[in-house]
């Protein structure tokens, strides 16, 4: 029978193909090698750019800074003191106005599909990297918008008089005035060293924008491929100067939903995930570990003080009394965070314990509203950020809690959220009434909380979304930076904190830990106490010996005092 024959052959062929494919799948040798030499990290968002000089967003810093680049100096993971990196040593003059760095000679830039360097890193590259920020006439200054938010908020331009090349491997910074946070600023994730040779190459090809989208750095990994909203693929830098890198391939799988990240971890599609939910589930499972690091951060509710009625201090104060912050700590942070009494985490040396605790009192809140002339209440837009950060693991849920609380004093809250990049863009235009946001410190110096978040200069960059500006506060910060006397600095910061508490442009909510979860075949420290994550020491093993059952902090911020001089 003709048709029957055809059926029979079809069935035979299908069986053959299925068996053949199974045999392929059984041949695990090759597949194992690709799996043990590669690592998939499920991250929470798409980076805006590949140059950390241009941003302050943690997602971008995670994806770029410690993977692609190095800095002149870095922080020791042990005690946060400043240690050599590209600069093997440095010298500071007695008046603290001249700092000379002596560079290593064996640092190579990435060899990639789009650029092959012909020389090692030298003083020209350092000069290029900093002059791009400092000099408005620099050919690269306005490429990618000409905004350097971190450097603008720390007033880098008015601090550095000039940068000078002494010889090929020596570079000198001349400061206008001594600044106690200068070295820590250079050690942050933002102060990366770019390649001047690559910049020249791009300028010749009239393709300058590539410098930020197709990065060439000196870090442990180089960029291979990137698709916005989908993935970033890094290859190992074979010529990494510091040590040999174990992983062949590092892939950032961009997964904005926290439930998707958890699913991917449980299905073992991701080796490491950022900002996990369901901590208990992960800790109990024998195949996974939960890492945490005490990070320096603050989650806050910020008011747009230019948008009425939030220009009224009484309204801001009323809201601060109407929200049950302890409930937020319990529910949103699962009790894994500290209720913030002030902007500064308690572990900072500049923290002073005289700020009074906010009282949760509807009665007080209502009377404040009445004095302010809003006894009928009003409607406001509360913006909740769409991604998870350690300082705010679930802003939307937090916004809903706040919505419930504020209903009691007659305020109707509309919750608004956009995709992260759109959110940041609209936020900088000041379209919001209030916003749930936060800040992770880039370095241990307390100034990193005060200046980027609330100074007048930060209104125009990206830190100060409250648009609050207080001359007295700015003066105190400047005074604190000009001295190296710790006791004096501490006093200035206490005064600054008192102003913030009085005016309340933002309500600090919590200081939290940063978490990440991983399959226990992944070894090596990835989370860092400051700034972005670091995969340079990560490795993968075939099988895991045994399971650690408790949450084990990888590193602790022990003494902050030491590193701040």
């Amino acid at each position: 029978m003709k048709l029957k024959d055809i059926f029979n052959t079809l069935i035979k062929q299908t069986l053959f193909i299925v068996i053949g494919l199974n045999l392929c799948a059984c041949n695990y040798d090759d597949e194992n090698s690709i799996h043990t030499k590669s690592l998939v990290y499920c991250s929470e968002g798409t980076p805006e750019t590949f140059n950390p000089q241009l941003v302050t967003s943690g997602t971008t810093i995670d994806a770029t800074s410690k993977q692609l680049y190095n800095r002149l100096i870095g922080f020791s993971p042990k005690d946060n003191s400043i240690v050599p990196s590209i600069a093997k040593s440095w010298h500071i003059t007695r008046d603290e106005k001249m700092i000379t760095f002596y560079l290593r000679k064996d640092v190579q830039f990435h060899h990639t599909d789009y650029f092959t360097p012909t020389r090692n890193l030298n003083a020209d590259d350092v000069l290029f990297s900093f002059n791009r920020i400092l000099n408005k006439n620099h050919p690269y200054h306005f490429v990618s918008g000409g905004k350097y938010p971190f450097f603008q908020t720390v007033k880098f331009k008015s601090l550095v008089n000039y940068v000078e090349k002494i010889n090929d491997y020596t570079i000198r910074f001349k400061l206008n005035h001594p600044d106690s946070s200068f070295l820590t600023n250079l050690a942050t994730d933002f102060s990366v060293i770019l390649s001047a040779e690559y910049a020249d190459f791009l300028a010749k090809n009239n393709n300058k924008a590539f410098i930020d989208s197709h990065p060439i750095g000196t870090g442990p990994f180089k960029l291979k491929d990137f698709r916005s909203g989908s993935f970033i693929r890094f290859y190992r830098n074979e010529n990494y100067w510091q040590h040999s890198v174990q992983l062949d391939q590092l892939v950032f799988d961009i997964t904005p939903l926290n439930t998707s990240r958890l699913t991917k971890l449980l299905a073992k599609e991701c080796d490491v995930i950022s900002y996990p939910i369901a901590h208990n589930k992960i800790v109990q499972h024998k195949d996974f570990n939960l890492d945490s690091v005490t990070s320096f951060n603050v989650g806050y509710l910020g008011f747009n003080v230019t948008s009425p009625p939030f220009d009224n201090i009484l309204v801001r104060k009323a809201i601060s009394h109407a929200i049950n912050f302890q409930a937020i700590i319990n529910i949103i942070y699962s009790d894994q965070a500290q209720l913030a009494k002030s902007l500064l985490p308690e572990s900072s040396w500049a923290h002073t314990d005289n700020s009074a605790e906010r009282e949760y009192s509807l009665k007080l809140a209502k009377s404040l509203m009445k004095i302010a002339g809003f006894s009928e209440g009003f409607t406001m837009d509360l913006w909740a950020m769409p991604i998870q950060r350690s300082y705010n693991p679930n802003a939307l849920k937090m916004a809903k809690l706040i919505q419930q609380d504020l209903k009691h004093i007659g305020i109707k809250v509309n919750i608004i959220s956009y995709e992260w990049n759109t959110f940041l863009r609209r936020l900088s235009l000041g379209e919001h009434d209030a916003v749930l946001l936060g800040w992770s410190a880039d370095h241990p110096d307390p100034d990193n909380f005060f200046t980027p978040l609330l100074s007048c200069a930060a209104r125009f960059t990206s830190g100060n979304r409250t648009f609050w500006c207080n001359k007295e506060y700015d003066k105190l910060l400047a005074k604190a930076l000009a001295t190296t006397n710790l006791k004096q600095r501490k006093e200035y910061y206490a005064k600054a904190l008192a102003i913030v508490n009085d005016e309340l442009p933002l309500i600090p909510i919590a200081h939290s830990k940063r978490y990440q979860a991983r399959i226990n075949t992944v070894k090596g420290i990835i989370l860092q106490p400051f700034g972005g994550i670091d995969f340079s020491n990560a490795t993968k093993v075939e099988k895991v010996p045994q399971k650690q059952t408790s949450i084990k902090p990888l590193t602790r911020v022990k003494t902050i005092t030491k590193s701040a001089h």
């Binding site: 916005s228 989908s230 991917k264 956009y418």
Partner: protein, 338 residues
């Protein structure tokens, strides 16, 4: 046949005109500046805006504007996405193949499960197996696709660990995008891990395709069942029976062929349904397709992306309809006269 073709073509033409008018009018209905809604260039300089205004003739009459909008579309210019700032046309060209791949796989699964089961049910009409298949069809049809998607992820990805839960291939395999169809790209690629990549892609597509396939498969069961029952009742089957042909001869030689022709048309009609299911499933399984992109665009209020995504997706579905109509007409001469 000529009349039939002309009739279909005129239907195609007028539907396309209506679709493009709808798409064009959206830029007036959406909030914001019309020129920005059309071009997607948010931060354009005044000079650039002048060029764009000339391109789209925003100062001219509505008809003139519409004509220039159509011209831009025919030039392959669908504007820039408001959120990613990339041209919509290239984004769609990247994503549409993934959606087609997923929908086709689902259609094949639905056909290979639904049609034979329907035939079996018809052949064993009013017996236990018929009842069993019918109740399966009704249960299958009533399960919401988003629930089923999450359920199979929970069982097969998390509990059993047999299949991955997201994407169309493990990101570790570096497959260069040539056609956008993952399986073709893998076959064309020079990766040393080609076959592992192929099996990996296969394990990725099984869950989402099966989830999408369930509802159409149950429709196919019922359609195939009634088509077969109709055929079995016809006089030529009775005649064959009296001539003394065996049961299997009747079924294989006469009944299946004639019942299948009736199915072709329905397969085309089911395709629109299937793409709707695919959009939801793409979100659940993070499938990098057009449906997910469109839903994300709606969430981000990315008007240009919504506009062009809708236009492309609906044209695509309509073209599939027309093609199946032609196939049906080619197979079945009776249909050409209607």
């Amino acid at each position: 046949m000529l009349m039939f073709t002309l009739r279909r073509l005129s239907l195609f033409f007028f539907t396309m005109v209506l679709l493009s008018i709808l798409s064009f009018s959206l830029s007036y209905f959406f909030p914001g500046d019309i020129l920005i809604n059309l071009s997607g260039e948010v931060n354009a300089s005044p000079e650039r805006l002048a060029i764009l205004a000339d391109q789209y003739k925003t100062n001219g009459s509505i008809l003139n504007q519409y004509i220039h909008y159509i011209i831009q579309i025919f030039n392959g210019n669908l504007g820039l996405s408001l959120s990613s700032k990339l041209p919509n046309s290239s984004e769609i060209a990247n994503l549409l193949p993934a959606t087609i791949e997923l929908s086709l796989s689902a259609l094949i699964i639905a056909m290979f499960i639904g049609i034979p089961l329907g035939f079996i049910a018809a052949i064993f009409h009013r017996r236990q197996i018929d009842n069993f298949i019918l109740s399966f069809a009704i249960i299958g049809y009533s399960i919401p696709v988003f629930w089923l998607g999450l359920f199979v992820i929970l069982i097969f990805s998390i509990q059993l660990g047999w299949f991955p839960s997201a994407g169309n291939i493990s990101l570790l395999f570096e497959i260069k995008q040539l056609t956008g169809f993952m399986f073709l790209d893998i076959l064309f690629s020079s990766s040393p891990y080609k076959w592992q990549a192929f099996t990996n892609a296969l394990t990725h597509i099984i869950l989402p395709a099966s989830v999408i396939a369930l509802a159409p498969a149950t429709v196919f069961i019922r359609l195939a069942r009634s088509a077969m029952m109709e055929v079995l009742d016809t006089s030529y089957i009775q005649a064959a029976k009296t001539k003394g042909l065996t049961f299997s001869q009747i079924i294989y030689r006469h009944a299946i062929r004639n019942a299948l022709i009736k199915m072709v048309r329905h397969i085309g009609l089911q395709f629109a349904n299937l793409v709707t299911f695919a959009m939801i499933t793409e979100v659940i399984f993070s499938w990098p397709g057009l449906g997910r992109w469109l839903i994300v665009s709606i969430y981000q209020r990315d008007y240009t992306a919504i506009q062009s995504g809708l236009l492309v997706l609906s044209s695509f579905i309509f073209i599939v309809h027309i093609i199946t109509d032609f196939i049906y007409a080619a197979l079945n001469p009776l249909a050409r006269d209607n």
